[in-house]
């Protein structure tokens, strides 16, 4: 159970007093308390548990990924994990009441509370009930809230419909997020999204702004006569990262002209088949380059 694991991690990371307070509140909300008690407990967590970044072992990280694939708490603070654990323990026997209580927490949430609430989506009961809430969060302009939904959170890929998912991915590019941290990014690539992203790239080019080369990882499988010229442009741009991105996109395509183009660059083609060049290696390479 992921809840037990969280319990263990929280115990390791907060003071004895903080832990006792939290354990008591968790027992209370699990038994069923009035809304005001839940609201106050949820609001006052940071004062009791502190807000330090949590420390977690590699083994614990691995366990989390097994229990809930695509989910991670790396970089979280103690108050965020404690709030999520509190929510996981909220008595959910009465569905309507449970949903109303959590919705009310959203409505009056402070910035860090929003982060915890959106992080908890894949761990709450009645997962179908939070779809609208998730799309509302994607409309937020608060950077940390967006990141709570986008990064290592399996809820959006698991539950959002195609328009909702596409909106989130586009917004991630638009707000310059680290898109490689989106759970399910490649699995949920789709033709409609590829076309939206190509339009977006055109707008960026028209404005003489750069385009994140990772955009093309969502286009590769859908290369056709309409967007092939975009890949060609990328391939011939003279920027080595863009050329690699073009090659990676081409390698995912069954479109004949795409295969032909990839055959023109044997070294990149080989690097891809030998797995020395991948989207992940490209991301790393670009990051190293930029921090130098």
């Amino acid at each position: 159970m992921i809840g037990n694991l969280f319990e263990e991690i929280i115990k390791q990371n907060v003071s004895a007093d903080g832990w006792n307070w939290l354990a008591e509140k968790v027992a209370l909300v699990n038994k069923g308390v009035n809304a005001a008690q839940l609201n106050i407990a949820f609001a006052t967590v940071p004062g009791k548990t502190g807000k330090k970044p949590i420390e977690i072992s590699a083994m614990q990280e691995k366990k989390i990924d097994v229990l809930l694939p695509g989910f991670s708490i790396r970089g979280w603070t103690t108050d965020r994990l404690s709030r999520v654990w509190l929510l996981m323990n909220l008595n959910s026997a009465d569905k309507d009441d449970y949903i109303r209580r959590i919705e009310n927490l959203f409505k009056a949430a402070e910035m860090n509370e929003l982060v915890a609430l959106y992080s908890s989506l894949p761990l709450l009961a009645y997962p179908d009930a939070w779809k609208f809430r998730c799309t509302e969060g994607i409309r937020s302009n608060i950077g940390t809230v967006l990141e709570a939904i986008m990064y290592e959170n399996p809820y959006p890929s698991g539950y959002l419909d195609e328009p909702g998912w596409n909106q989130m991915v586009l917004k991630a590019f638009f707000t310059e997020k680290n898109v490689e941290r989106i759970t399910g990014l490649d699995q949920r690539a789709n033709k409609r999204l590829a076309s939206i992203l190509c339009d977006y790239a055109h707008e960026r080019w028209a404005a003489h702004r750069v385009v994140n080369p990772q955009l093309w990882r969502l286009v590769g499988k859908f290369i056709d006569e309409n967007n092939f010229s975009d890949i060609l442009k990328l391939f011939n741009s003279g920027n080595p990262s863009e050329k690699k991105a073009a090659a990676l996109a081409l390698s995912e395509s069954d479109f004949m002209p795409a295969k032909d183009l990839l055959n023109q660059t044997t070294n990149l083609k080989n690097a891809i088949s030998e797995k020395t060049l991948s989207w992940n290696s490209l991301v790393k390479e670009m990051k190293n380059f930029s921090s130098n």
């Binding site: 950077g143 750069v210 930029s290």
Partner: protein, 327 residues
């Protein structure tokens, strides 16, 4: 001032001191009363540039009365959500006080609903007091909700930020203090705002904190403020801008510090009234961590990823305002 236009010009030139905050460079300021909801992003940027590291936004009247409870909820929620984020983009730590303002206390039906809503917000992280509450017209309804909110503050162990009225100020200020004492509040937990030369002595003598709002035309000017500090010292005195949707100045605190320096007040005294005292007073909420001021400042504008600037936590990039080109 002289009626001779030439002479008058000379007099204006002599009394005019251009803004040059060079003499307070490196100092940190805390503005304990500023309504950022009504201000632009440019203000945040200039406040950060002038050394403001933290501020308190009291809940207030938005310029016209609200017609329903949901707009109150959304307003309070924006003070702890969106506005907090907006400030963090410029490296400024944003706190707030939550309360029902005196004007809207007069809509009793709505006021009742607001009283039910308040407990949902006052326990939140970064809420450093109940405020701004008190008297406007000094009506019975204002008194009723002022009293109820004092009780709420006591229950939550939070400081109180009192707005004192524009009209009949002296009596309104006295009455606010009398009632606070009557409810058993420790004057050290109460910040009486918008003081002037007429009110300050009694406020300080009775053990309350005295805040001064530097606000053109209607409240204090900062030259008067310099004289107040010279006369009363710095104990339990603080300066704020109360900048809002009116003609006001979000740089009032650093500008006042600069003027104090020009007029020979020592740096430690300036620090007390433009930074430390406010933090001490509102810090009694247990919600102010000075370490957070540097944490929120960890802006790394230089990190680039895929050719794009990464602004950690959504930090805003700077634009070059001296250029006619907007890209």
């Amino acid at each position: 001032m002289s009626h001779d236009p030439l002479k008058r010009e000379k007099e204006v030139a002599e009394s005019f001191i251009s803004v040059d905050l060079e003499n307070i460079k490196g100092m940190q300021f805390f503005d304990p009363h500023v309504h950022m909801t009504s201000r632009t992003t440019d203000d945040y940027q200039s406040m950060a540039d002038a050394g403001i590291v933290g501020l308190i936004e009291p809940a207030f009247w938005l310029g016209q009365p609200r017609s329903g409870i949901d707009t109150f909820r959304d307003y309070y929620s924006s003070l702890i959500g969106w506005e907090r984020f907006r400030a963090s983009q410029f490296g400024i730590k944003h706190y707030c006080t939550i309360g029902l303002n005196s004007r809207e206390a007069n809509n009793e039906k709505l006021a009742e609903e607001v009283m039910e809503l308040l407990p949902l917000f006052i326990y939140k992280e970064g809420v450093v007091g109940i405020g701004e509450i008190g008297f406007d017209d000094q009506t019975p309804a204002e008194e009723k909700y002022y009293r109820l909110q004092l009780e709420l503050a006591k229950e939550a162990n939070l400081p109180v930020q009192i707005h004192t009225p524009h009209r009949d100020k002296k009596r309104g200020t006295q009455r606010s203090m009398d009632i606070a004492i009557e409810h058993g509040l420790d004057p050290y937990m109460v910040i009486v705002d918008h003081n002037n030369e007429e009110t300050v002595q009694e406020v300080l003598e009775r053990g309350f904190w005295a805040a001064f709002t530097i606000y053109p035309f209607t409240k204090m000017g900062n030259e008067r403020m310099v004289e107040i500090v010279k006369q009363y010292g710095t104990e339990r005195i603080m300066v704020n801008s109360a900048a809002d949707w009116g003609i006001s100045d979000p740089l009032a605190v650093p500008k006042t510090a600069s003027l104090m320096k020009l007029r020979g007040i020592n740096t430690e005294h300036i620090r007390m009234v433009t930074y430390q005292n406010a933090i001490t007073a509102f810090g009694q909420s247990g919600q102010i961590e000075e370490a957070d001021f540097t944490l929120v400042k960890e802006i790394d504008q230089s990190k680039k990823f895929a050719g794009n600037t990464i602004l950690r936590g959504g930090q805003q990039p700077r634009i070059d305002k001296s250029s006619i080109i907007i890209s």
